[in-house]
Structures are given as C-alpha cells and as structure tokens.
Symmetry: C2
Subunit: 310 residues, 2 copies
C-alpha cells in the first residue's frame, strides 16, 4: 500500500523565475515525486510549489527544496507585504490517501528536525504537527515576520521546536505543519462595492458565526472593476463549494446584487466534486471510487483497502 502526501511549500521569492525553477528542479530529481504546479506572485514577492508523492520521498523533496532556497534566497534583502519568516517560509503537508494524520505528523517532525540539524535553520511545528498550543495557529509563529522574529526568537515563548533560538542569517526560520486539504474558492459579484463583499464575507465565515470550516474575505478585483468573496474551505466534508456558493448568492440577493461566476484556485480532491455531483443529482452512494481516473490511481497505489474518500 503506497500513501500519497501533498506538499505545498511557500518560498520568499516571487519575482525571479530562475530561483523557483532551480527549486523545482531540485524537487524533480527525487524519484516518485510529481510536481503538480508552481506559481510566482510578484506583488507579494513569494511563490508556491505543489508536489505529491510517497511520505519518505516527500520528506526528501521538501528537504531538497529548503536546501536550494537557503542557497538562493536572502531574507535580509527580501521585501514583500506577506508575513514571512524564512527563505522557505512554510511547508504544509497534507495527507491525501493511504496515510493517517498521525503518520503524516511523524514525517513533518522528521523533516523539521532534519532541516534544523543539516541546514542550521530553526524550525517550528504548526497545526496538526504542533507541540505547543500557541503554535497550532501559523499566524502566531509568523507574527511580525523575519525582522521581528530575529529580535524575539530568544524569548522562550518564541523558541523554535528544533534548532538554536537564533535565526539562520539569510534563510531565517521555517514552519513545518500538517493540515487538512484546503480548497481556495472565490465567488465574483456583479458590483464594484467593496462594502457588500466584506459584509457577505462576514456573514458566511465561521469566525463571525457563519458556516463551519469556512474562511472568507471581501476583496476588490481592480482590473475587472468588480468585488469578490474569496474563501478557504478547510473541510469540504463539512462545507462544500456549493454551500458557499448558495450562501453568497443568498446574502448578495439581500443587497440586490447578482453572482457573476465562481472560480477554484489550484486543485480540488475528486471526493470534493463527487460530493457536489451526488447532492446536485440526488445520486445514492456516489463516491470518488466511481471516478475512473481516481480508481486507476487508487489501484496503482493500492488504496482500495484503506480508502479515506479523498
């Protein structure tokens, strides 16, 4: 039985494609690793890489990426709005199939230990991998970014999980975590009134009493002269894209505003779209197991006996 972990490291370089290409190259040399996507964000001066593979190979690939990023990226000269603490800023691991969260956490801890030991970069464990309650939330680790962490890392409440309480001079620190699959889903509104998008986001997000497992913000899309409710679904079994779409549509109607369209940023698991089709067409017992390519992959990977439906 082979397991698959998805890994989505974020690097503090979003303007020089050559840097990211060399990191992707380093990852690609690891056997059984599939690079699924990478993209640069020049505004935030950061980039996101997505790859997947068996647990130990994912660890090797994430380590190779971190090593390469440490050679090529210097946080002392890096500028960017997004909070970041390191050249390899954050390494989220997502158990896709054939592996439990617990075993994925073991990989995350091995990886974090290896990065501090072999590269001299202090590492933090967050979300499911966290060992300290405060570090469950990544925002608490990254607070104030590289510049502030450099001053505060010696304080006990900001100590890393692995390594000395001093930042790597150029590569900073890295947060390694395990989280559930996250769907980035946006709904565009037929208005340019940011207040409306913000109000709808407030109504639907969990943190202000809305839909469980949904994070939402209202933002403006300058080029299109419209506003958008941008969301993260942290558990598609609890709240689906359809739930969010319908909720936004309903709230928008209160303002007399129409929904234009929606978009999925990045990847979604087969199980997430199978669930929507099942609900929509009132299908009994439909699952990812009935989706041809999922089934072929599951057979190749030997997932049959321990399918986790995602």
């Amino acid at each position: 039985m082979s397991a698959i972990i998805e890994c989505i490291p974020n690097f503090s370089e979003g303007r020089d494609p050559a840097v990211i290409e060399r990191i992707v190259e380093a990852v690609s040399t690891i056997p059984h690793i599939e690079v699924l996507d990478y993209s640069l964000d020049a505004d935030h001066n950061r980039s996101v890489l997505t790859f997947a593979g068996p647990p130990k190979q994912v660890q090797r690939a994430a380590f190779a990426a971190t090593q390469m990023a440490a050679q090529l990226i210097n946080l002392q000269t890096h500028q960017g709005e997004h909070p970041r603490i390191g050249a390899t800023d954050v390494i989220p691991l997502v158990p896709i199939n054939g592996i439990s969260i617990k075993d994925c956490v073991s990989i995350a801890r091995d990886l974090a230990a290896q990065i501090s030991r072999e590269l001299g970069i202090p590492t933090y464990l967050y979300e499911h991998a966290a060992t300290k309650p405060l570090y469950k939330n990544l925002a608490n680790i990254r607070r104030g970014g590289f510049e502030r962490l450099r001053e505060e890392i010696s304080k006990p409440e900001r100590h890393p999980d692995f390594g000395e309480a001093v930042l790597h001079p150029t590569a900073g620190a890295t947060a390694v975590g395990v989280r559930d699959f996250l769907i980035a889903y946006n709904v565009n509104l037929d208005t340019n009134d940011l207040h409306i998008a913000k109000e709808i986001a407030r109504c639907i997000r969990e943190s202000s009493g809305g839909i469980p497992s949904v994070k939402a913000l209202g933002v403006r899309l300058n080029r299109q002269k419209i506003v958008q409710v941008t969301t993260n679904l942290t558990n598609f079994q609890v709240a689906s894209m359809h739930d969010v779409y319908m909720a936004v549509k309903k709230e928008a109607a209160r303002f007399g505003v129409k929904v234009l369209e929606s978009e999925i940023v990045g990847l979604v698991p087969t199980a997430a779209i199978a669930k929507i089709v099942q609900d929509y067409l009132h299908i009994k017992n439909f699952s990812a197991q009935q989706v041809l390519e999922y089934k072929i992959l599951a057979k190749k990977m030997g997932w049959d006996s321990v399918d986790q439906g995602s």
Copy 2:
C-alpha cells in the same frame, strides 16, 4: 507518454463465480493492468469485467481473458436471455487518455486477428473499429445469437472480419470494437406506472427526437415497486447526466410524478463530473486538470502535453 485504454469484456457466464475469478486471474497476471471492477449477472447469465492499462498490455490481457473463457465456457450448453455469440461475447476498447481513436482501432484489429489466429475463434470488428458499414452496429453482428449465427455465418453478409466462416464449436465468435466512454445513468421515479417511465424515455432519447447521444428505456424495479428511466450517455460532452436528470424531471412533472433519486452504474470519467460542477457553480475554466488525483495520474502517465480532457 503512456496511454490508457479501458477494456470491458463481456463473458457468457454469470452464475459460476469460479469461472470469472479465473478469467480475472488471467488478466491480473499481465503487468501494468489494473482490474477496476467485475460483476456477475445471474439473470442474464453473463458477466462484465473492467480493466485498464497501456495499449499493448490491454491487448495481451484481453487475449488472455478470451483464451481462458474459451477453456471454461461452452456456448452449446449456455442459456441466457441476452443476445450473445461467444464465450467472450464482446470486447469493447475505450480510449481514455493519451491515445487517439485511430490508434485504439489498430489495437482492436491486432487483437481480433490474434484471437482468430491463435484460438480459432472467428472475430468481428464493430463501431469505430468496423470495416463494414453493417457491422458498425453491434446488434447486427449479434442478431439471433450463437444459435442463429452458427447457421448463418457461411452467408457472405455474416462473414467474420478474421478467421474462417465457421463458429468455434464451444467458444462461438467474438466481437471486438472501439467505442467512446459510455455513462450508465438511471433516474428513479416515485411511481409504479411503467407507462410513464416508457413515455419519458421515449421523449428524451435521441432515436425518437430527444437529446442527442442519449439512449433511454423505461423499466420496472420490482423489489422497490417503482419505475426507472435507464439511460446510456454515449457522449457526455454533448449531453451530461445533469441534462438527462433535468429532462426526466421536467417530463415527469407533466405526469405529476416526482424524481426520487438517480444512480450511476459503474465508472464515470473525471471530466464528466468536472463539467457538471463547472455548470452548476458557474465556474470559469474548470477542468479535470484541476482535480488532484487526476492530475497526479496525468503526471505519472505523462498526459500533460496531449490531454484530451477525459
């Protein structure tokens, strides 16, 4: 770049699981072949096996299955309602990805030639693989089943594509074809009135002026005391499950009847459910390429450059 063909052979034995298990075993020994499903139908005394793999391996596996079926199944003693001409009755090949219909037809012809040459079983080519217009439609090949074909095979209009114009004494003949992916989709109605199901089926099927690429029949589900519109979608890009669901719902409403639920029998391609989600949530540019497991498989198979969206 690796291609994948799906193969769904039908065998004239649906009561003795041991026979099918030995056929499945023969297929499973071929490298890179994934057995996706198999099921026995005792009423029709036939069974269906689904497997997938690279073209040449699919040919080898289909041949191995046909050889094993010829050893274990005797058409002279076989009884069953469904029209059938051989121990291995029909071998449909479906190009899934990375292969054109033309190249899939080459595999079908090689396979049909090999079966007649090495097993002494005459073979017919149908649908995309047909060489004669009459044989495009499988029904014309199977007309009257084993018993009638035994009498008529010597007539020029019933000659096989490969082999002598005489049936194999026990294994009969085999039809090998290439067809598009077919979705088996049923909609259950909240009534026991067969007339209504038949009338709705008549309205929606292509052959009586309904939805292009849809085949439909009205049938009774005795155990549940309801009726069903059972359909085959021969091109989900032309007519989706959602199109059929909505059409059945609308026609049913004319009779004051409600739709209870629907069901997918067997497998559907990722592209078919991605299309439904795209339409439902008004998503711009959503495709199978954004579905995680599809993307992993596509990377493993090297489909990126020639993706056919299914």
